[in-house]
Symmetry: C2
């Protein structure tokens, strides 16, 4: 990566302009019955309606279109348990360049199918961060392709921040913006965007108890990387990145934990009340609102519904 310092608000504004020809402006939905249930005013930013079905397209698209023509010609490579891989594949497709995606064995089938459908080459590796990093580095060296990391790449973080930028324009003043926390690309970009527009708005994260590395890192004051993820929220199994952890601390982001049962119950509520598909990872935000309700009572809350690529083969009878 050429840039290793974190992005700033101007980078998010630039990203918004850069991805505008390719990305959707997603709708913000509301629900009287969910507001009643939560005792708060909820604004759901529907990134499940983003291209390829998740906010991840924003970051990947910004990274791909930030490359010079010479850099782009060699293609891009990444590792991803799913959504970022599909996002980079589609982003590369919009620029007509090659994409190589390293996928851990056992990743969600529908996400792997999407990566292939967008024309990328899939490389399977063992399901550990070390194996992923090694294979991605190998491909990068062999092909000369640019590595676009799923959450530590500053261009990716800046791209993810454009979702909150839109949300704040669409929903007006919010007391809290709440996003799922995995590797920290979305929450990092969100923290920068919110600080740039609405300094009084709090940014909170929702993280599964079974992948509580960001929560633990903040609690201990140092990045915890040795937890083994075990959660139904397949998009949130990544370990918080260094640059991302620094952003959480700089912006005093707090992380709230949710159980998988709470996440699945919240997912059903989103499906049945909003009539939209949200994947489990995306439902952690509503799960956090319902579990920690005293934190949200009477507040105007923006929730980023991060994606809709639920594995229906797994979830349906």
């Amino acid at each position: 990566m050429s840039q290793t310092s974190p992005p700033i608000f101007a980078d998010i504004l630039a990203a918004a302009a850069r991805i505008a020809p390719h990305a959707h402006v997603t709708p913000v939905l509301r629900s009287r019955s969910l507001d009643e249930l939560a005792g708060a005013h909820l604004h759901f930013k529907c990134e499940n309606f983003q291209r390829m079905g998740a906010f991840k397209f924003r970051g990947a698209c910004n990274a791909v279109w930030s490359l010079s023509d010479a850099e782009a010609a060699a293609g891009v490579v990444t590792h991803s348990s799913g959504n970022h891989g599909a996002a980079l594949a589609l982003a590369a497709h919009t620029r007509g360049i090659a994409a190589h995606v390293v996928v851990p064995a056992g990743a969600v089938a529908v996400k792997i199918a999407a990566i292939k459908a967008y024309g990328a080459t899939v490389h399977e590796c063992a399901p550990t961060m070390a194996a992923r990093d090694a294979m991605a580095a190998e491909l990068q060296t062999k092909l000369g392709a640019r590595l676009v990391h799923p959450f530590t790449d500053p261009a990716v973080i800046a791209g993810q921040g454009t979702a909150a930028l839109e949300l704040l324009k669409q929903a007006g003043e919010l007391d809290i913006v709440l996003t799922p926390v995995g590797g920290g690309g979305l929450i990092g970009g969100t923290a920068i965007a919110v600080a740039g527009i609405a300094a009084d708005t709090r940014v909170l994260g929702a993280e599964p108890e079974g992948a509580a590395d960001a929560y633990e890192s903040l609690r201990r004051g140092e990045r915890v990387t040795d937890l083994k993820a075990d959660t139904v929220s397949d998009g949130l199994r990544g370990v918080i990145g260094e640059i991302n952890f620094d952003l959480l601390r700089a912006h005093r982001v707090e992380v709230l934990l949710v159980s998988d049962a709470e996440t699945l119950a919240a997912m059903r509520l989103i499906w049945s009340r909003l009539k939209i598909l949200a994947e489990p990872s995306a439902a952690t935000a509503l799960a956090a609102v319902l579990r920690h309700r005293e934190r949200f009572a009477g507040r105007r809350v923006g929730l980023i519904v991060s994606g809709g690529n639920a594995d229906l083969e797994q979830l349906l009878r």
Copy 2:
């Protein structure tokens, strides 16, 4: 019912104005991947985002707000396997009047819960049309309440037609408009609306093989009322009404059959590609496009996604 002649185009325009303060203008969604799969240009009119989650609110709302103040004071009564009951309950709520809903034993739990949540009184009866009619008539007599039939009431039919009215405005010129067929309220209203705006646009219906009364009625040239419904599409088990059958013939509507397996496969496609919840009944339209693809090849097709009140308890693991 005071009016027994079928509604005309002017009634649909009046209905649109009458329900505008209460009903949502629902979005029309498109999907590149579904267009490719079908080999046609598909425009999905998302009535799953209508209030209470189905187009039925349009008809019920038009019926409730068509009553004089004196009529309205005695309340409304109906029988319904689900969506119309919730629709009438909510419509009555918007006018602050009482609603009584006769529901057959075995109706979808989530729909009964919705009826109660909107403040209506639920009366359970045996799961036959005769039992429903008898109990509704009894309540009507006892309470002096107005019967709002789910699909033969002309005000209901006119209300349902407003969905196609919006669709044609939103999507522009269409070759075909396709709706699910149950009792015939939606397809009847649609046929009138389309004839009034776009005389060259064909109206087609999609009906489950296990509830093929409209298909059989058109084939035999007389209304068939003795078929026993057996289909996963719980909203389409009703028998085509007389006034509705007359409308199908007057507008030369053709009905296409689909199997339950085709419906469930189409439902999964809608969920996974459009990222929206559609109930099985609503998926029959896409199922018909995919089964009878030669009829739709290269055409601009509007599909009414009739509702999103899927029974997640049944469908999810």
